[in-house]
Amino acid sequence: MTRRIRTYREVTDPAGEDVVAQVVAQRGRVDARLARIGRVVLVASGKGGVGKSAVTANLAAALAARGLAVGALDADLHGPSLARMLGARGPLLMGSNGVRPAAGAGGVRVMSMDLLLEADDAPVRWRGETADRGVLERSALRELLADTAWGELDALLVDLPPGTDRIERALELVPEPSVVLVVTTPSVAAGGVVARSLRALATAGAPVGLVANMSHFACPSCGEVEPLWSGDAVEDLARRTGTAVWAGIPFEPALAAETDAGRPPGGSSAGPPSPAGRAIDALAERVAGLPRRPGSGEAADP
């Protein structure tokens, strides 16, 4: 005679459910942080090398120059560069309410793996063998978001690593971003990869804005702006996918050099007006105009 053993679902006793409680507590910590953040902007792309981090750093600086309390989270765990671009340095201070973010250009509050490494050129390496690198990375990113004492923020920019799967992971962590800025260049090859990201985002129902980075070349001598690519792949991509173009940022050597040196000029308010500065300013204005997330208060304690 077969014994009747209760199934997993039939066993409803609370004992043994501590794992569920721990997962709920983890989610609660994320939600508690997000509740104090007015706008969460994911900066993403299916393609690498399109300038996501440079766009994030300059957008953060431009928002901060407008008087907003801004945070910048580098979600690229293995190729972090945002802290350097924002001129932020460690060590990080451990407070009772979490880890204090480092101060970057314009007072932007920065958290990045960069700040945790022993040297500028140290690779990110984890101890021991891990069964599933994705699980570890998800948890690490959750900690960087939830365990950083961001305080009240008007906007948190999250710089994602390349890859459509990374965008989907980020949406698990931040299910309702204010907007996902998808960065691309006018190259047809980049557009093809980015189209996949846009499709994934459409499926998820997330609000999206396209940012055409390096759309043109702004000559440092005469100020003339010339196309860098033949054709209009970004407009074509926008039309095909029904996505709005939020900004077209020309490549400007001076802006690139300043950003590399940890002094992102942000918008034109930080220096003489330039085509790239004006484009970043316009993008910042649009982001600042996004409605605050429901339940988030006005930033009060920078």
Binding site: R3, I5, R6, Y8, V11, D13, A15, G16, E17, D18, V19, A21, Q22, V23, A25, Q26, R29, G90, P91, L92, L93, M94, G95, S96, G98, V99, R100, M113, L115, L116, L117, E118, A119, A122, P123, V124, R125, W126, R127, G128, E129, T130, A131, D132, V135, L136, S139, A140, R142, E143, L144, D147
Partner: protein
């Protein structure tokens, strides 16, 4: 994951956890009706999987520390974290032997361990931490290997 005592049809309760230091883990569960015990033994890969999720089998004895997973698993992290000066009165001194013993704790968790001991001492009105008090705190807080 649940453990059911088939004899008693009772959910077994978590009793204790042992981490021998070789990457494996033993978690003991006990039937509340007949007191029968069983041990869940996990290999290093399984132990790591649970750890990477930020989960403690059997529950937590102390609340999660900020960035505890990143701090404990990032091999290339140096002394990236400095202690924030305490915002509240009630500070605690460390005796030289206790300070010396603290040096044996790996640098990537030293700050966290120091803070846990410090908070434990402040809560009890203890002015100075000694190795003996560290033993007491470790037993009370269930800090194996710290």
């Amino acid at each position: 994951m649940k453990f059911l005592c088939v004899e008693c049809d009772q959910v077994m309760e978590f009793s204790e956890r042992t981490v021998p230091g070789d990457g494996t883990m033993a978690a003991v569960f006990r039937c509340p009706a007949c007191a029968r015990e069983m041990a869940l033994l996990t290999n290093p890969m399984e132990t790591r999987m649970v750890s990477d999720l930020g989960i403690r089998v059997g529950g937590r004895t102390v609340p999660a520390e900020p960035m505890e997973l990143v701090r404990s698993t990032l091999e290339t992290g140096g002394d990236a974290f400095a202690e924030d000066p305490p915002a509240t009165p009630g500070t605690v001194r460390w005796s030289d032997p206790a300070r010396e013993r603290l040096q044996s704790v790996p640098s990537f968790v030293r700050g966290m361990v120091k803070r846990i001991y410090g908070e434990w001492a402040v809560e009890r009105g203890i002015a100075e931490i000694t190795p003996e008090l560290m033993d007491r705190a470790r037993a009370e807080l269930g800090l194996e290997g710290m």
